[in-house]
């Protein structure tokens, strides 16, 4: 094996079916610290199912999940978040009527006896946003309702970072964004990986994938049909795998830097 580090997350022969429908048929995937691992595939390929299993929302039926090399159980969202796996959903799940700090700490507020420790939360939120070089928001006390799509995405990602997560899964982070905002968010995704987090990026947008990903996995009808280093492939190749006109025998361990 020629990889530089053991993967933080490793999926081995994952299977999942809903009644008679096999959605995941023995899927392998690895995500490493400091890298952006892109997961692409057409609608219905099984991306969401794969992610929901990692988030602990819909447990897998078969196969093994290894976290830092150790087999783990992922049956509840709690187990996933305890391991440090955080999902940033496409619809963001932010409360418009709360400000940035309140959203970043939602459900995990810091308290002093019974009252909230606002000052501490505020300074930690500011620190995290500054580390991620999120510069477009003027105040951490702005209501989320007043933020642009890119800024909201930044807040959602920063929330994932705040909790020192080891794996951050981003579901279509640029789907609803304009050109400039997409660029901001992709920059943020890159910095997130550079800070040592394993980032799994789900996207339909090949430009985005090629802009930030280190490795690209392609799901096709519940099977991983390709696992490629970005430098060794191109748009046409990936589109071919996504649409099923190309395929390759995938041995995940062979994909190396």
């Amino acid at each position: 094996m020629s990889q530089q580090s053991t993967p933080i997350i490793e999926l081995v022969e994952i299977e999942k079916s809903f009644g008679p429908v096999d959605v995941l048929k023995g899927v392998n995937l690895q995500a490493r610290a400091g890298e952006v691992t892109a997961l692409v595939g057409d609608n219905g390929a099984g991306k969401s199912t794969l992610i929901k299993g990692l988030a602990g929302i819909q447990p897998y039926d078969g196969g093994e999940v290894r976290f830092e090399g150790v087999p783990v159980n992922l049956h509840t969202p709690r187990q996933a978040s305890d391991l440090g796996i955080e999902v940033v959903y496409q619809d963001l799940a932010l409360c418009d009527n709360l400000d940035i700090v309140q959203n970043m700490f939602l459900g995990r507020e810091e308290r002093r006896t019974i009252s909230l420790n606002e000052a501490s939360m505020e300074s930690k939120a500011t620190e995290t946003l500054t580390e991620l070089s999120v510069r477009t928001v003027s105040s951490v006390r702005q209501k989320v309702a007043s933020l642009s799509g890119g800024q909201r995405q930044s807040v959602a990602i920063a929330r994932a970072v705040l909790w020192n997560n080891k794996v951050v899964i981003l579901d279509e982070p640029t789907a609803a964004l304009g050109v400039a905002q997409t660029e901001q968010v992709l920059g943020l995704v890159r910095r997130l990986a550079d800070s040592g987090v394993a980032v799994i990026l789900i996207s339909h947008n090949m430009q985005d994938v090629f802009a930030v990903a280190d490795r690209i996995y392609v799901l096709y009808l519940g099977k991983m049909v390709a696992a490629l280093n970005k430098d060794e492939t191109n748009h046409n190749d990936i589109v071919g795998y996504i649409t099923g006109t190309k395929s390759m025998p995938v041995d995940v361990a062979q994909v190396a830097k």
């Binding site: 995990r108 009252s115 946003l129 006390r141």
Partner: protein, 411 residues
Amino acid sequence: MSEQTTIGTGQEGSLRDQVEQSLMRLKGGEMGSLPAVLGFVILAILFSSLSPVFLTAINFANFFTQAATLITLSMGLVFVLLLGEIDLSAGVTSGVTGAVLAVLMATHGVVWWLALLTGIGVGIIIGLAIGLLVAKVGIPSFVVTLAAFLAFQGLQLVIIGEGGLYRVASPYILNIENGNLSRSAGWGLVVIVILGTLLSGLGARRQRTNSGQVNRPITILYARTIAIGLLCAGTVYALNLERSFNPEHPLFGVPMVIPMVAVLLLLGTFLLDRTAFGRHLYAVGGNAEAARRAGINVSRVKIIAFTLCSTIAALSGVISASRTGSVDASAGRTIVLNGVAAAVVGGVSLFGGKGRLSQAAIGGFVIAMIDNGLGLLGLNAGVNLAVTGGVLLLASTADALSRKRGSAVVR
């Protein structure tokens, strides 16, 4: 939006910057209770020019005791309105509480405090039941509380009896609305309010300083303390004036109900602004799905909110019984819609996630003033209802327009 190198907290800059920021927020549609305050001032000027009695000491004190029931009920409703839900049965809950209180004392000879606790306990149980039906069974709150509204009217009839009326004789209960503080106790309240404002403000600043955060110019805190101090001092001064027409029976001082409702307001505001539960309540009202994914127990938050609403409604029933000195079978039947109107007039959103107890209180003052002023002018109940409806419509129009404008500014 221009690129900048640091992220602020909204507390930076000079006094002038802060004022500009506030004006910006206002222009952006975050008007809070400003329209209600303006409405209050306009109504006060109108009524004092139309009625010679309006600005008298006796009417001033009456105004507070009249408003107390409505304001209390309206503050209770805020907890439910913040969820985007409604409690149509809050008024009837207050009536049932009053009935339980009066009947226990009058016919069963129960000591006042036990009757009081039982009444409030009834409120808690009603709220818990409504909360469970809404959160766990999933029935819309409009339907659950409409059913409760009907059913509890029946319950109240059964407790009181057709056409019946029970006197409340306990001086402890009667004193809530009819007792007054001594003059010096009134001034003591002013001192407590001023010190409380100042010390809590300084405490918050020290906490921010300790964690390396910037504070607003301290002038703002001083100005705020002075404004609140003057308002309280003026109110206490007016309430300390002799207001009896009969020199044999002097009548002066701050009605006891005022500090009681004020304590409720402070406790509720602390719960909403400073505790995790309050934060979660706003979150559920803003985006319940986001709250759920953040690990918040949404059902639990809803059940607690409905329970708080009914409990506070029960308190308003006690205040009402104290004011009228009696409870009849229809007590509390019509007040709930005025309570909702008060909250909305004050700036609480019916869509959930936006509103404060103080806004409900200010809205309650506006509605109560319409009642009080038109009553003094000798206009009939029809005019009163029509004007209240008009004010509600005006307030919600202002809210809708400002929200439209706000979204236009943001995009």
